[in-house]
């Protein structure tokens, strides 16, 4: 391998770890870069220090998978390079700019696996910036990684499997869960029966959790709309509508999310071609069943390529690793690769079922009140976006960004981007794919200015 740079893997979650394992197996020595202090990704995130809770208390039925993943990654020590607490903030000229240990280092790579994962997908609702409102993922991290509840009486609202999982985890931890408010009608849940044949264990686990929530007296409400979070300085309650009924509950913490969205900024900076995915109502980087993108040597694995969950991420990580091996002329286990692709296809069909059971309420954007804040960073309201779109006569999302600053704040549109696209589409009477795709910019997350301006220190890898 002399003369060739190291393969670079971004993300040390289920996908990144399995990709690393596949590369090490073939004698390659990848560099694994991850923002977290310890491996596991979001789903199998580790605590900063151990505490009195067992692995089962933390990860539930997935504890064996979490433990195996952490253990397997630890076993790779010495056979790869691992930079935790490191942010890949730019990709240019075949090199990666990585902020680590207070400095920016530039690394040449040969082969890039992007296992960047996902974050919660949300649409703005009144009161969503109040202290005490967290994403479902955020509420889960508070509980699992930090051992804290986001309130003493908590309501979970939104859609997606995480809605019920997080509510159940809070209930199990002894926190008072006032209600689970599902944006989908109850009838949508019958779709889950179709998932029984594909992923019976997942469906049965979900049914058990729902039954346990109900047994504990947690109110489960379906088809909620016009959700508003109330309070002056912090969350004091939540209001919503069901049919024609106006509903209200007092609470001091809210977990909110509408399923997940992939982190695709690095695929964009790597030059990957994107396609619009009608099911997810999002632009996703193109890739084949093995994870190969439109850019030779750049691979995608896990939720960053499209939401499919942790089990799929492990499989996709391994598959991408095998693809990289094949493209380098190394042994690549074709039978194993084919078996993985079959499993991933089955999980993909399961995802279609989940999407029907937990549909994204895109119409919320159309109905959004003008005063609702869309961009948390720059505090831009729905009305300001609508006015900017009308005034400048734009129906294109990057133009809208230029004239309204939406998507220009510190989060780079991670939180508001899909809402802005839905708003613009509704406002201009077009489909959401017709308004275009918000382009990613480096640095993909805030870094000190001195780091971005400093002359990069080129490093010879390996």
């Amino acid at each position: 391998m002399s003369g060739r740079a190291q393969p670079l893997i971004i993300g040390a979650g289920p996908a990144g770890i399995r990709a690393a394992e596949a590369l090490v197996e073939a004698g390659l020595r990848p560099l694994v870069v991850d923002e977290a202090p310890a491996c596991g990704g979001q789903i199998y995130r580790q605590r900063l220090v151990p505490d009195e809770r067992s692995s089962v208390a933390l990860y539930g039925s997935e504890a064996p998978k979490a433990e195996r993943l952490h253990r397997d990654f630890a076993a790779l020590a010495g056979k790869l390079d691992y930079w935790p607490q490191a942010l890949l903030w730019n990709l240019r000229d075949g090199k990666a700019d990585i902020a680590v240990g207070g400095a920016s280092r530039q690394v040449a790579y040969d082969g890039l696996v992007l296992a960047t994962g996902a974050t919660d997908r949300v649409l703005p609702i009144p009161g969503w910036t109040l202290p005490g409102v967290f994403t479902l993922g955020g509420a889960q991290i508070a509980l699992k990684a930090q051992g804290c509840a986001i309130g003493s009486r908590v309501v979970f609202v939104g859609s997606g499997p995480l809605l019920y999982l997080v509510a159940w985890q809070y209930m199990k931890a002894g926190v008072s869960v006032a209600a689970v408010l599902d944006t989908a009608p109850f009838s949508a849940k019958f779709n889950l029966l179709r998932g029984l044949a594909l992923e019976p264990a997942v469906i049965l686990r979900g049914m058990r959790m729902t039954a346990e929530l109900r047994l504990k007296g947690v109110a489960l409400r379906y088809g909620v709309r016009d959700v508003r979070i109330e309070g002056e300085e912090r969350v004091g309650g939540i209001a919503w509508r069901e049919d024609i009924r106006e509903m209200h509950l007092a609470c001091d913490g809210v977990g909110y999310g509408l399923a997940l969205r992939p982190e695709t900024q690095l695929a964009d900076l790597a030059g990957c071609r994107f396609r619009f995915d009608a099911r997810d109502r999002a632009w996703l980087p193109e890739c084949d069943a093995a994870g190969r993108t439109s850019v030779p040597g750049v691979y995608l694995a896990g939720d960053g390529a499209g939401i499919a969950g942790a089990d799929a991420a492990e499989l996709a990580g391994e598959r991408a690793g095998l693809a990289l091996r094949q493209d380098r002329g190394l042994p690549h286990a074709p039978e194993r690769a084919a078996a993985i692709e079959r499993s991933l296809a089955r999980i993909g069909r399961f995802r279609d079922v989940l999407e029907l059971a937990f549909p994204f309420p895109a119409h919320w954007a159309r109905d959004m009140a003008d005063e609702t804040l869309v961009c948390r960073c720059e505090e831009i309201s729905a009305g300001e976006i609508r006015r900017a779109a009308a005034h400048f006569g734009t129906g294109e999302i990057n133009r809208l960004k230029a004239v309204s600053r939406i998507g220009m704040g510190r989060c780079q549109g991670r939180i508001c981007g899909s809402a802005a696209a839905e708003l613009l589409a509704a406002e201009t009477g077009r489909s959401v794919d017709a308004v275009g795709r918000l382009r990613s910019q480096a640095p993909i997350k805030p870094i000190p200015l001195t780091m971005a301006l400093a002359q990069p220190q080129a490093e010879a890898a390996e």
Partner: protein, 95 residues
């Protein structure tokens, strides 16, 4: 009334820090976000409307939890471990 309620790690080693000049204690294993919100109900005021904020995603994506130290250093509270002696300011508007 603090925003977060501890249900684990209550007896871990105490870590002293100050919040707007007041002496506070976090616990070993706390992020800055946890340490502050286990004492207080906000992390900062927003730049434009000065409305209280307390983070959102807790996974380093939303950038809503940047806080300032008295030294002027800025840090993302959800992804920074609490350090002994940190002097954190939440009253300023420049987060």
């Amino acid at each position: 009334m603090p925003l977060l309620h501890r249900i684990a790690r209550r007896d871990h080693e105490a870590i002293a820090f100050t919040l707007d000049g007041h002496a506070c204690q976090g616990r070993a294993g706390d992020t800055v976000l946890t340490a502050i919100l286990a004492q207080a109900e906000k992390l900062r005021f927003s730049e434009f409307s000065a409305s209280p904020r307390a983070g959102f995603c807790q996974m380093g994506a939303c950038q809503d939890c940047w806080v300032v130290l008295e030294s002027g250093e800025r840090l993302r509270a959800c992804s920074t471990a609490l350090g002994a002696g940190m002097r954190i300011a939440t009253k300023g508007r420049a987060a």
